[in-house]
């Protein structure tokens, strides 16, 4: 299942990249550098995305055990 892990990882990373770009980066592109505010926002954004991933994983796990819909889900990426 090494490949499944790799797919989960890259899928998550790609979505995180898009979401955090949309949340944190000014879309006018007047400069080529990440400024201080954007950099800090990106760091926090990644941390929060991980937390959301964990919460959703727990929810799907509990539904699975409780007899609801959905399969097993990884606790971490």
């Amino acid at each position: 299942m090494a490949l499944a892990e790799l797919e989960i990882l890259t899928d998550a990373l790609n979505r995180m990249m898009d979401s955090c770009h949309n949340k944190c980066i000014n879309p006018s592109y007047k400069e080529a550098e990440l400024n201080k505010g954007e950099s800090v926002c990106v760091d926090r954004c990644v941390a929060k995305f991980f937390e959301v991933n964990k919460k959703v994983g727990e929810k799907m796990q509990s539904m699975n055990n409780g007899g609801g819909a959905g399969g097993g889900a990884p606790r971490s990426f």
Binding site: E7, D11, S19, C45, F49, V52, G57, G70
Partner: protein
């Protein structure tokens, strides 16, 4: 779907492809929920931990999406069965 026209070896191969597809679909469902609920619930990046309001939003969002997915799946199956019945009636 009816696979009886295939040889046992082909059926085994098909089975493996289908299992791989189911795994990929599950991964996409899972990470799609994470993305959707993150985007809908997290808009404050002055902190790196979820606020309790964000946490409630994420839990409700995941819960609701799974219920929504179940309902769409059920209606989809019904409509699809009906469409296939119509198609067979039409081809007779």
């Amino acid at each position: 779907m009816d696979f009886s026209q295939y040889s046992p070896a082909e059926q085994a191969q098909l089975q493996r492809v289908i299992e791989k597809k189911q795994m990929t679909d599950f991964i996409k469902l899972y990470s799609g929920i994470v993305e959707r609920c993150f985007n809908a619930c997290c808009n404050d990046f002055t902190s790196k931990t979820l606020s309790s309001k964000e946490e409630t939003c994420v839990t409700n969002c995941a819960d609701k999406f799974l219920k929504h997915a179940e309902r769409v799946g059920a209606r989809f199956a019904e409509q699809n069965a009906e469409a296939m019945k119509d198609a067979q009636a039409g081809s007779r």
